[in-house]
Structures are given as structure tokens and as C-alpha cells.
């Protein structure tokens, strides 16, 4: 730093002969200096002061003196990253700077027809405005309850309160009045995310984060006003709130999203709350008997360096042997535990499988190289999916996963269309009993109740072909497909040494999307495709040859050509997916207007994408099957169903009264 260094050489000038009267040859130069000690010291000090001041001024202002901002004439927007930015995976949003096409392309504008098409038919969303995290999902007295972060005033995040809706089947929803608003000092600045716990007597407690009137993040307790009301319309906040405040060592804005509680072997209830210490993501642990007073454990549930803030932590058991859900308190030798966290830095939900030690409330991962939050660790979903939360559905013995699906468009469009964000279709979650190393997710069975007419297809598709699949309307579809690469093609390519092994280098994100042709892929479906293919969203497998002649399979969604619009994010998403000996390649796709949910290999790899076509909408949206492989012929066997609307019911007093009587 020039300015602080400047102090040092200047102090040396006290001895600078030039400060005295300059007679170098004068043998009495020293006595000259000593004759005026006080004045000299004062002059020197002022000199020091002014020089340091001036240098500091120059160093910080760098020549710019006006209050107006000056800009370089070349005017290029730069997205060059430094330091922390460089370490973080480039967000899809960075692609926005390079507007598609050159400067002379047709200027683009959203019209109401394009925007109103984007609203989904069977995904959960409020009637209008902004939504984010799922909150406190539970099943009670015949109803599935869903709460959510909601902005009653705008189509962007802000003024957050708890929205509420109920359903008999997780698909057909009725909107209810807001469950909780920001009416106390301890949640005046936001009624944020929380979770529900069932007590032994069947009653419900809700723990949630409040942002206080001083913007401190605290945990609060709430419970239903009337347990006889199956709709749980009204909620009461505990008069002694907050029940937890940030503990020593934790910053007031790093303490949020309490989990569902589980019973310890000592008979207490235990919860965990995500936080961070510097750049280490952590999960704090608290024990309680009454949800009003808590004892913080000295140990953390877990921590992983360099992962940043852990939001929406989730912790639950999964069976090692059975394909069913487990209550959050279950423990035992046939059980593994999942720790999941939403990474604030990267907007990715990561999880890991491991072992829980109840005696001290700690957990260790089976594979520390893919510990929670490390970029290569497992994800629920390789697309747009965040702040997810599971709950145990005691009605059907399932563990169900909700995930917040944000928009990938501009806020202008959200404001214009009047809403923002969806929830994914609820998914069951179980451990993959075949691999033991990952979870498997699948849309809840109830979504099948929306299936209308279906068409079955069976075909062989040669390399470099495209087949239009005539199913009528193609914006609301459920597709289940099985693919097989013909044995002759596989043998030929595996045996051909000139076909390079590319499995190590391939990734959905970086290998150029679905137009880049390989020996054994890509092949799959192109959804929301215009007849001319000027807009389309391919969902596909890419099978790559590995060095040891083994095959590695990738499952991707390519939204790069999904829309002409230049203000939407259009990434290629995906990941490798385990394929076991003897398995065919299977995929399921739910298409619902501006959301495409793809499930590879029975839900071993899931990809949620948001797409905003401008032309491939209404009757112009089509479905294609394609095989872009250079050498392989594939057989495809699939079913396509038209999907009905879920007719999500807006809130009305009569509807609520009618429901209360059922």
C-alpha cells in the first residue's frame, strides 16, 4: 500500500540535510538542528500529516474527483470473476450478458399470450405473486397440508409470510388464508422457514425462523389454535417467543430454518439448525422436552469446510432394505441417515448418506470425499431445485420431498405476468437398495390420476434421426420410456479402438448440449418443440465409452434452444447416472408448460428445468423423439399421456366451509 509505506520514508526526512539550512559542509549542521527543537518538530509533524493525507487522497481517489461515475468508452460488460467469484460455479445468470444473436436481431418483447401460457396446469403455485421455500408439510386428519414462503405484495421476494393450502392427494389443492403473518416483534421482518413435529399425543408443534424487528434471526414456536379443525386454519404463536436466539459465536443473520424434531434414546426431542462459522457450513443441535426451553449440544451434527452457509438443513432416516419411508425418529441397524443442506453460495441442494450417533448427536458420511456441500457431492436434482424439505407421510408410510422451483426468466416478466415460482411435483424418497449409494426419487403415485388419454409407441430409430410423435396437445404430458442401444451397435463401438473413450471428459454442462453427436448418443425426447425445431428442449441420454471399455451413462436436459427470448437463463443440466448390469435405460418426463421434470433410471438422477418458449406454445408445442448418435441404432418403447389440470382451487370462504364439513 503506497500510502502506509509513505509514512516510513517520510519519517526518515527528519534527518534529511535539506530540511536544515542546506550548508552541507557546515561542521555545525547538527547543532543547527538542535537549536530549534520544538518548532522543528511541529513543522515536521505538520509536514508528515499533510504528505500522508495527500498520499492517502491520491491512493483512494485515483484521479477521480467528481461525484459522477465515469465509464470506460468501450462499454463492454465484464463478467470476469476474482477471488471468491472465481471459486463459485458460474451461475446460469451470467449467460444473460451475452444476449443471443448480434446487435441487429429482432428486438424481443413478452406479450400476454406468451406469458399466460407459462402458468402450470398441475404444479403447486399460489394464485399470484412470489413464493419460495416449502414450510411445515404434514398430513393431519385426512388432509395433506402445505405451507410456503409467500410475498402477498409483489412478484419478487419480500414481506414474507406463510401461505397455506390443503389437499387430499398432494395434487389437487385448495388455497387457504395465510397461516402466519409478521405481527410480532420477533417476526416483524419476516416469517421465515420452519418445520412441523408431531408429538406423541398427536398434536402438532411448528418451529419457524423469525426475522425480528432488529433483523436478528430467531426461532419461534407456534401451534394450531384448534386441533379439531382438520384444515388447521388458525395458528397461535407461543407467548414466550423466541425460544431460541443465535448462540455465542453465531452471527445474528446466520441462524435459520429449524428441522422437524426426532426422539433421542434418552427420550428428548432433538432438532438441528444450519449455520456457518467463517466459510464452514455447520449444523447446530438442540435438545428439548417441551419445545420451549432448549439445551444446545457442544457437538455439531456435522460441518464441512468451504461450503458456506447451510440453509434448510434436513435430517432423516432411510431404510437400508425396504422401499418405504420412515418416521423421523426411527433409528436402528437397518437404517442410514441423510443429512441434506441448501448451499447459499451455489443455490444447490446437496445430501450425503451416513451414520448417526444418537449419544452425542453427531453424524458422519459414508464417503467423506462427497461430503454434504462439496461440489461433487450428490444432489436431489441437477437442475433448478432449492430449499427442499421432506416430511414423513404417516398416511401412506412414505417420505415425501418438496422443492422450491424458482423462475429462470427476468423479473420484468415475473412482474408482467404477476407471479413467480413453483413447487416441484412432490416426490417419494428412498435409499437406492440396489446401489446403496444414492437416493431414488419418484413423483408421487397420485400424479397418475391426472393421466387422460395415452398412446403407446415402439420403434427403432437409426443414427441421426428425428421422429415427430403425434400426441395432439404437447404442453401437459407424462412420458415413460425405455431405451436400448442395439447390441450390434454396442459391440461394434466397444470393439472399435478408433472410437475414443470420452467418459472421463464428458459432462452435460460442458460438452455442448444435444447437438453434439457421439458414437452412442445423445438420444431421447425433444419436448416443447416447435415444428421447425427453432425452439425445443431435449431431454436425453448420452452414453460414453470409458477407458476400460465400460460404458458411462449421462442424463441431461438442454434448454439452450428452448426459447428465442434473450432475457431467460438457458443452461444444459444433468449428471452421470448409475446403470446396473442388465438394466435398460429408462426415463420419465413430466411436461407442464414452463416446467419440465425429468427422471432418469427410475429417479436416480432428476433434472428440473424452467423453459419459456415464445413460439412452441399452445397448439404449436410438439413432441419429437430423436437419436443424434453417429453410429448407434436405438429401440424406444414408450407411453405418452395427456395430463389433465389439477384445477387448484383459489381461496374462497364457501369452499372452505364446504371442505370443513367433509
Amino acid at each position: 500500500m503506497a500510502s502506509s509505506d509513505a509514512l516510513l520514508p517520510i519519517s526518515a526526512r527528519e534527518e534529511d540535510p535539506l530540511l536544515s539550512d542546506g550548508s552541507r559542509s557546515d561542521p555545525n549542521a547538527e547543532t543547527h538542528g538542535r537549536r530549534r527543537p520544538v518548532k522543528g518538530l511541529l513543522a515536521v509533524t505538520f509536514g508528515l500529516f499533510f504528505i500522508a493525507f495527500y498520499v492517502a487522497l491520491i491512493a483512494t481517489h485515483d484521479g477521480s474527483r467528481s461525484n459522477d461515475v465515469k465509464f470506460e468508452s468501450d462499454g463492454t460488460a465484464t463478467t470476469a470473476s476474482r477471488a471468491r467469484l472465481a471459486g463459485v460455479s458460474e451461475k446460469g445468470n451470467d449467460q444473460l450478458w451475452k444476449l443471443s444473436g448480434d446487435r441487429n436481431t429482432v428486438a424481443f418483447s413478452w406479450n400476454n399470450s406468451m406469458l399466460s401460457w407459462q402458468r402450470t396446469a398441475f404444479h403447486f403455485q399460489p394464485e399470484q405473486n412470489w413464493m419460495n421455500d416449502p414450510n411445515g408439510p404434514l398430513f393431519y386428519k385426512g388432509w395433506y397440508h402445505f405451507f410456503y414462503q409467500y410475498n402477498p405484495n409483489a412478484a419478487v421476494w419480500g414481506d414474507i409470510v406463510w401461505g397455506h393450502a390443503v389437499s387430499k392427494d398432494l395434487i389437487h389443492w385448495v388455497h387457504l388464508p395465510l397461516a402466519m403473518v409478521a405481527d410480532q416483534w420477533y417476526d416483524a421482518n419476516g416469517v421465515w422457514t420452519g418445520s412441523a413435529t408431531f408429538l406423541e399425543d398427536g398434536s402438532i408443534v411448528m418451529l419457524y425462523t423469525g426475522s425480528t424487528d432488529k433483523s436478528v434471526q430467531v426461532q419461534n414456536l407456534a401451534y394450531p389454535e384448534d386441533l379439531n379443525d382438520p384444515l388447521l386454519l388458525k395458528w397461535v404463536k407461543f407467548s414466550g417467543n423466541p425460544v431460541l436466539v443465535p448462540p455465542p459465536g453465531i452471527l445474528p443473520k446466520d441462524f435459520r430454518d429449524p428441522t422437524t424434531a426426532w426422539k433421542t434414546s434418552a427420550g428428548k426431542w432433538r432438532i438441528t439448525i444450519g449455520s456457518k462459522i467463517n466459510r464452514t457450513g455447520i449444523s447446530l443441535v438442540y435438545d428439548t422436552t417441551d419445545f420451549k426451553t432448549y439445551e444446545k449440544l457442544d457437538t455439531l451434527l456435522h460441518k464441512v469446510p468451504n461450503t458456506g452457509m447451510w440453509e434448510c438443513v434436513d435430517f432423516y432416516p432411510v431404510s437400508k432394505t425396504l422401499v418405504k419411508g420412515l418416521d423421523t425418529s426411527v433409528n436402528g441397524p437397518d437404517v442410514k441417515h441423510i443429512v441434506k443442506a441448501s448451499m447459499d453460495d451455489t443455490r444447490i441442494d446437496h445430501y450425503a448418506i451416513g451414520t448417526y450417533f444418537d449419544s452425542n448427536g453427531t453424524w458422519i458420511p459414508d464417503d467423506p470425499t462427497i461430503d454434504v456441500g462439496i461440489s461433487t457431492s450428490l444432489r436431489y436434482d441437477y437442475g433448478k431445485f432449492y430449499a427442499s424439505k421432506t416430511f414423513y407421510d404417516q398416511n401412506k408410510g412414505r417420505r415425501i420431498l418438496w422443492g422450491w422451483i424458482g423462475e429462470s426468466d427476468s423479473e420484468s416478466a415475473d412482474v408482467q405476468k404477476g407471479w413467480s415460482s413453483l413447487q416441484g411435483i412432490p416426490r417419494t424418497v428412498v435409499l437406492d437398495t440396489k446401489t446403496g449409494k444414492n437416493l431414488v426419487q419418484w413423483p408421487v403415485d397420485e400424479v397418475k390420476s391426472l393421466r387422460l388419454s395415452s398412446k403407446k409407441f415402439n420403434m427403432e430409430v437409426g443414427p441421426g434421426s428425428l421422429v415427430k410423435i403425434d400426441v395432439g396437445s404437447a404442453a401437459q404430458l407424462d412420458i415413460e420410456a425405455e431405451f436400448e442401444i442395439k447390441k450390434e451397435s454396442l459391440d461394434k463401438i466397444l470393439g472399435d479402438a478408433s472410437v475414443a473413450a470420452e467418459a472421463e471428459e464428458f459432462s452435460c454442462q460442458k460438452s455442448g448440449g444435444s447437438t453434439v453427436r457421439g458414437a452412442l448418443g445423445p438420444f431421447g425426447f425433444s419436448v416443447l418443440a416447435h415444428e421447425s425445431l427453432s425452439e425445443q428442449t431435449p431431454v436425453y441420454f448420452y452414453v460414453a465409452k470409458g477407458k476400460d471399455s465400460k460404458l458411462k451413462t449421462f442424463f441431461c436436459t438442454d434448454s439452450s434452444r428452448s426459447s428465442f427470448a434473450n432475457d431467460v437463463v438457458k443452461p444444459v443440466y444433468g449428471s452421470s447416472v448409475p446403470v446396473l448390469e442388465g438394466e435398460k435405460l429408462t426415463m420419465r418426463i413430466l411436461v407442464d408448460h414452463s416446467i419440465v421434470e425429468a427422471f432418469g433410471q427410475g429417479g436416480r438422477a432428476c433434472i428440473t428445468s424452467r423453459v419459456y418458449p415464445t413460439k412452441a406454445i399452445y397448439g404449436a408445442a410438439k413432441l419429437f423423439l430423436f437419436n443424434n448418435a453417429i453410429d448407434a441404432t436405438i429401440t424406444a418403447s414408450f407411453n405418452v399421456w395427456q395430463m389433465n389440470s389439477a384445477f387448484i382451487h383459489p381461496y374462497s370462504e364457501e369452499a372452505v366451509r364446504a371442505l370443513s364439513r367433509t
Binding site: M1, S3, L7, V38, L41, L42, T45, L48, F49, F53, A56, A59, T60, D62, S64, S66, V69, K70, F71, G75, A77, T78, T79, S81, R82, A83, R84, L85, V88, L96, W97, L99, R103, N104, T105, V106, A107, S109, A154, V156, W157, G158, N189, G190, S211, Q217, P252, K253, D254, M309, D344, D345, S410, E411, S412, D414, V415, Q416, N566, D567
Partner: protein, 162 residues
């Protein structure tokens, strides 16, 4: 006497260290000079923490959007043939003022910076889209380019809060 000297040196060092906070922060952004000039020109800059610096930049985005809207409005009369593009720009810049800025302010102040990042990124997007509406013959280039640059710097600082 010595007290005066000590005080003066302390004042200088304080000034230098406050200048350091802005410099250290700005070093981590894609445009050091722009960042420093924006923060230095604001009286709150000298005593702000990272959160405060981020809020200053959001304020600059707000000011720049207001200024650009005024310019858009004046262009309706001078360049009536550009009406369609000006309408789109007006819509986009109104989004910056009415959606992006309030969202960023609330999120940064309340400690959920990721929504602040969304807001400041979007300000740059809206400006870029507006610019594109003129198919290469924009009367607003210097203003839209400014917004993109300020948005980039703001984003970098908001990310430090994550």
C-alpha cells in the same frame, strides 16, 4: 503537544484504513476503479461495513435507473419513431426501480443476501434487454452500459455476504 501529534497520526491512519476497507472490497470486484469511485463519492462509504457498501451500490442502481427513466421520457418527444423500444425500456427500468431495488434492499438488510444478488443481477439484465431493443442504434447506450457495470460490481459485493 505529543497528544496533538498522536491524534493527527491516528486521524491519518483511520482515514487510510477506511480507504483500505473500500479498496480491499473493490479489489474483489470486476471493476476496481468504478467500485472505488462509486463508494468514495458517497458519504456513507467511509464508515460502512460490507453490507453497507452493498446497500450504497443498490442506491446507485436506483439513482441510475431514475436518471435513465427521465432520459427515456424525454426521448419520446425527440425520437417518436423509437416508441416501441422506449416502451419496452420503460417497462424494464420500472422493474429495476419497483422490484429489483426494494428486493435487494430488504434482502441485504435482513441477511438473506441471495435475494439481493437476484435483484442486482436482474438490474443488469433489464438494462441489457433495453439496449438490445434498439438493434444497434441505441440513444441510451452509455446509460445501459453503466447499469450493467454497476450491476456487476454490486453483485460481487453482495456475494461477499453469502
Amino acid at each position: 503537544m505529543k497528544m496533538v501529534v498522536v491524534m493527527m497520526i491516528m486521524m491519518v491512519m483511520a482515514m487510510v484504513s477506511e480507504a483500505n476497507m473500500i479498496e480491499q472490497t473493490c479489489k474483489e470486484t470486476p471493476d476496481f476503479n468504478l467500485c472505488v469511485s462509486l463508494l468514495d463519492s458517497d458519504p456513507r462509504g467511509s464508515s460502512a461495513d460490507t453490507s453497507g457498501l452493498a446497500l450504497i451500490l443498490v442506491d446507485k442502481i436506483k439513482g441510475l435507473a431514475t436518471k435513465t427513466l427521465k432520459e427515456i421520457n424525454s426521448l419520446y418527444k425527440k425520437r417518436p419513431e423509437l416508441k416501441q423500444a422506449l416502451d419496452e425500456c420503460s417497462r424494464r427500468y420500472n422493474t429495476i426501480l419497483k422490484a429489483d431495488v426494494p428486493e435487494a434492499i430488504e434482502a441485504i438488510s435482513k441477511g438473506v443476501p441471495k435475494f439481493g444478488e437476484d435483484g442486482v443481477i436482474d438490474a443488469g439484465v433489464e438494462a441489457a434487454v433495453c439496449e438490445g431493443e434498439f438493434k444497434g442504434k441505441s440513444p441510451l447506450t452509455s446509460l445501459t452500459k453503466s447499469m450493467q457495470k454497476v450491476s456487476n460490481v454490486a453483485r460481487a459485493i453482495v456475494r461477499m455476504l453469502l
